[in-house]
């Protein structure tokens, strides 16, 4: 990283020279990156490119949280994991891969499933949160947690041949509950294990999540606040649409919200969404 006096050591100048040459980014952008801490929730299809690109680009502290182990049917899209890590914790696999490409940053392993009982403690340590998870209750939970702790949330999702991306709770943008005050019916909660996902689709969305996290960390460019990117891989069409802002009467981020950290820790997200927090169902492929 940077020296305490803020100067750039010679090996860092060389490693990041292609960033330092960018007029819109430069030394100041690299310095802000090196001083930022980013938590990636989920080391799966989205989390793979997010963690690799954030590690490569020189984020100061990269946290990865995931409670699952690597499985062979993850490998078609989760490019951070090697076959040798099948059966081992995803967090360990992902953190090792990040250290192999950049030993100069700090990589922190949180080998847990993020839950209401541990989320506040973990998320509190970071400046920016990236939602790279795969299920609905966790998405509500992470958004609520980020509102309580006032952290920007770079949220991506991918399923089938489509992807979506936005930044919640930053620069006036809505939180997840502003957009979706009530959860969808259970039948609408499709998962990758139910419906499949083309491997490179979370790759595209994950790279874009890393980009947005970098933009938030460095204050370079216009982050996707109050906008959502919609990706349709079949037609190669990507549109960016305008979203509502944070709603004054939102039960979480609204001005009269009474939702506390204690409420959060007791909230039953699986019951709220009628949907489990893990995506481990074995797929039934009928050939």
């Amino acid at each position: 990283g940077f020296a305490p006096d803020g100067g750039l050591p010679a090996d860092m100048i060389y490693r990041y020279s292609r960033h330092l040459l960018l007029p819109d980014f430069g030394v100041e952008g690299q310095r802000k990156l090196s001083q930022s801490s980013i938590l990636v929730v989920g080391a799966g299809g989205l989390g793979s490119p997010v963690a690799l690109y954030l590690a490569a680009c020189g984020v100061g502290c990269l946290g990865i949280v995931d409670g699952d182990d690597v499985e062979l049917n993850n490998l078609h899209r989760q490019i951070i994991h090697k076959e040798a890590y099948v059966g081992k914790p995803k967090v360990k696999s992902a953190a090792d891969a990040c250290r192999e490409i950049n030993s100069s940053i700090k990589v922190v392993e949180h080998r847990h499933t993020l839950k209401p009982c541990n989320a506040l403690e973990i998320v509190r340590k970071y400046d920016i949160v990236v939602d790279a998870t795969d299920n609905l209750p966790t998405r509500y939970m992470i958004s609520d947690c980020c509102v309580l702790l006032n952290k920007p949330l770079v949220s991506g999702a991918a399923l089938g041949l489509e992807g979506q991306l936005t930044i919640y709770h930053h620069n006036g943008s809505p939180c997840y509950r502003c957009l979706f005050p009530s959860p969808p019916p259970v039948a609408a909660c499709q998962r990758c294990s139910d419906s499949g996902v083309l491997g490179v689709v979370p790759g595209v969305i994950g790279c874009l999540q890393a980009l947005e996290a970098i933009k938030v960390a460095t204050a370079v460019g216009e982050p996707l606040c109050g906008r959502m990117l919609l990706f349709d891989s079949l037609s190669a069409r990507i549109r960016t649409v305008k979203l509502r802002g944070s709603l004054p009467d939102c039960t979480l981020c609204g001005e009269n919200s009474v939702f506390t950290e204690q409420d959060f820790q007791k909230f039953d997200y699986e019951n709220f969404t009628q949907s489990p927090m893990s995506d481990k169902t074995a797929p039934s492929v009928d050939l």
Partner: protein
Amino acid sequence: MHLTLEFGGGLELLLENSTKVHKVEVPLKDGEGKVPMKGLLSWVKANLIKERPEMFVKGDSVRPGVLVLINDCDWELCGGLDAELVEKDVVVFISTLHGG
């Protein structure tokens, strides 16, 4: 009135042949040059949705988890159910994704 309707995030599965883009002609009521979103939802439910309508509408509105965009803008910014559509508008209905 000529409108382009697009369905995504899995909502296209409720439509014939899972077609995502539909160029449609929505009838106007006498003497009016506009169609309110409320009217469009009824028309879509009656004319395009082929199965499981509860995956598209709930009560008067779309079901929770569906974003509605009028000309690439969240319908909440345009009046929601009371938003008035005009000739050649593009309306997108997209189900939010949770996978990764």
